[in-house]
Amino acid sequence: MLPNSVTETSALLEAGGYVADTALATTVFLALSMQRPLFLEGEPGTGKTEIAKVLAAGLGRRLVRLQCYDGLDLSAAAYEWDHARQLMAIRMAEASGGVDRGALASDIYAREFLQARPLLNAIDPEQPPAVLLIDELDRADEPFEAFLLEVLADFQLTVPEYGTIRAATPPVVVLTSNRTREVHDAIRRRCLYHWVDYPDARRERQILARKAPDVAEKLSAQIVAFVQRLRGEDLFKLPGVAETIDWAAALAHLNQHELMPDAVDETLGVLLKYQDDIAKIKGAEAARLVSEAQASVAA
């Protein structure tokens, strides 16, 4: 079921449309075989979330996604008791008379009153194995990280009133962070760490061929050459792979067959998301980069 070597992992990701470099494939392979959570950090738009999706599809597992936000707490992330039904059960017991305290306690803290949220859902032994994606962990506040420790270390969750719920098959766990704040060392220590960098030109061309197959080969090579040069500029926010793919699609929609300064100026907003950056590149700078990109592809 799980891949047996780095090559097999590479092939698995490739089959899902994800072009990974050797380092990433090795890390994913190790995370799968050592059964450790995978902590991916990197700039936005470098394909961190995509890895979890591709893994879920490739391994034939369900994807359980927990999107983090400030104030995310146990009742939204792990589990919640269904208070209304619990109160109802108490009233019913009273109505039937002769309340036995011990029996009542075990009755209203039964599994049926426990509402599963993503974390519990991912380790529920009664459900098929899962890939758990904890997305943008840096958006949650620090107290939330403490909730995760038990799940990440032992793939289990302790509900004080109920007991410990343990995964039958440990889930594949992928955590991502955009580094808008530093995630605590306690989390890092339990995970395999990988920094997802911008791809090099060769890999970016492969990605583009996969994700935007209807873009002409020459245009796509020029696009990659342009974006690679753009990443060397002094910009506030460098374009990620996601932006490259969007831009290729945008140029294809405009029926472009070759990179032209005018079209680049008009569509720069797809690539750069800050007005200062656009103002800096638009015009002469863009024309220079376009001619460089054209020259490098022709060479």
């Binding site: 070597s5 780095v6 050797t22 380092a23 090795t26 890390t27 392979f29 190790l30 075989s33 050592m34 059964q35 450790r36 902590f39 950090e41 400030d70 104030g71 707490d73 008791w81 208070h83 619990q86 109160l87 108490i90 017991a93 009273e94 309340v99 305290r101 009542l104 306690a105 209203i108 840096d138 958006r139 506040d141 107290p143 032992d154 793939f155 289990q156 009133e161 343990r166 440990p170 955009n178 580094r179 808008t180 704040r181 530093e182 060392d185 890092r188 220590r189 995970c191 395999l192 760490y193 990988h194 920094w195 506030f236 200062d276």
Partner: protein, 407 residues
């Protein structure tokens, strides 16, 4: 329960090498624990040991937990796994060992004054020589070239440290009580905690006699301090560092930067509990004490490399500078604007304004004033107390407007 496969690490030799490598990384300052080492050994049994790239990734992914440690790891890897028997390894080890800086021998070690104090009878603290007798003009000029020099701080007495701790408790920054979305049990709270209510009711056989309540927790937002250490600010360096150290150890989520001609993040150095050790570490880490100022450039660097990492979660920025810029305020307004827009509150503390009626005529000041939420001039920044009082004072909107109009 542990799901890790119970497979013993292969070969004693590789295990030994991993151990030596981990030791090397630790000496170079990377936090590599025994658990990381075991994970690395396990990882090596899984990858193809002949493939250098795979081995490197296996070691990196298990032993490195932060992006900033990656470069150091790559260097260590190149050195260590080149020739395990050769003399180069020994050389590399020696080089890595040399990396953590040793304190200069001519300086008394931190805390020695306090140790000496403890050995003798307590005496009233010595009168400090008054350093504030320079000409005003000397302060106003901005030095021309980048002067790199280290700062020497006066030793602190035990009483000084106790004082600083007591003073910092009085600090109340604007917007300090930020509501979080977490709750805490509180009988007078506004929210009914059903889970706790039901649990309590079971003691009475399911009869609800009392509602358990909770309230929202408030906590101060993250604080980011950007502090100017150029020549014109050097007279305040001592007090400012006392303040920064006290603040960094008093509350969590404080990030501290110093800037003159460069930008240095000194958060980690300041975390040291002992102020003297912390100051020694800071003065080694920062090369541009009392040089010129390039505020615009420093802010641009901060905006590009740090803003997105430290200004999340509603951070408050405290900018400490006199606004005297070496580069004639090039790029200052743009970068101030961006900084202002990426934090929830920008407070500017200006220690230059020591007499009433000073008009903000400097280019730098005029470029900065429109982009701050709060402007706090200090007339006499002689003590930590004055600094804390200035920051804790409620904001006077009228004064703020007057400053804006004057500029």
């Amino acid at each position: 329960m542990n799901f890790a496969p119970a497979q013993p690490p292969r070969g004693g030799r590789i295990a030994g090498n991993v151990m030596h490598f981990a030791r090397l990384l630790r000496r170079a300052g990377l936090p590599v624990g025994p658990a990381d080492m075991l994970a690395a050994q396990q990882a090596l049994t899984l990858v193809q040991i002949g493939d250098r790239q795979q081995v490197r990734t296996a070691l990196r992914t298990t032993m490195v937990h932060r992006h900033e440690h990656q470069d150091l790891f790559e260097q260590a890897f190149l050195m260590f796994w080149r020739d395990p028997e050769g003399s180069k390894t020994a050389l590399a080890m020696a080089m890595m060992e040399g990396m953590p800086e040793a304190p200069p021998p001519e300086r008394a070690p931190a805390g020695s004054r306090r140790l000496a104090e403890a050995m003798t009878n307590p005496r009233p603290p010595r009168e400090k020589p008054d350093e504030r007798r320079e000409e005003i003009e000397a302060v106003m000029t901005v030095s021309e070239r980048e002067r790199l020099q280290q700062m020497d701080f006066e030793a602190m007495s035990a009483a000084d440290i106790a004082n600083a701790k007591a003073e910092i408790r009085r600090l109340v920054l604007p917007m300090d009580l930020r509501r979080t979305r977490r709750r805490r049990p509180d009988p007078g709270g506004a929210h009914v905690d059903l889970r706790a209510t039901i649990r309590a009711s079971l003691r009475q056989g399911g009869e609800i006699l009392e509602l358990a309540r909770s309230r929202k927790v408030t906590r101060p937002p993250p604080l980011v301090v950007l502090c100017d250490i150029s020549g014109s600010m050097s007279r305040y360096a001592q007090i400012l560092l006392h303040f920064l150290h006290a603040v960094a150890n008093d509350r969590d989520r404080v990030t501290t930067f110093l800037f003159g001609t460069r930008l240095s993040n000194i958060t980690r150095q300041l975390r040291h509990r002992d102020p003297e050790v912390a100051f020694q570490m800071v003065s080694h880490a920062v090369p541009d004490w009392s040089g010129g100022t390039r505020i615009g450039e420093a802010l641009a660097l901060f905006n590009r490399n740090w803003a997105r990492r430290v200004l999340g979660q509603g951070a408050v920025v405290l900018l400490v500078t006199d606004g005297l810029d070496r580069d004639g305020a090039v790029g200052l307004a743009e970068n101030m604007e961006r900084l202002h827009k990426s934090c929830s509150r920008l407070i500017w503390l200006n220690p230059l304004l020591r007499w009433d009626g000073f008009e903000p005529k400097s280019q730098g000041i005029r470029a900065m004033l429109p982009h701050v939420d709060e402007f706090r001039p200090v007339h006499n920044l002689a003590s930590l107390r004055a600094l804390i009082e200035t920051l804790s004072r409620p904001l006077s909107r009228q004064a703020m407007e007057q400053w804006r109009l004057a500029s």
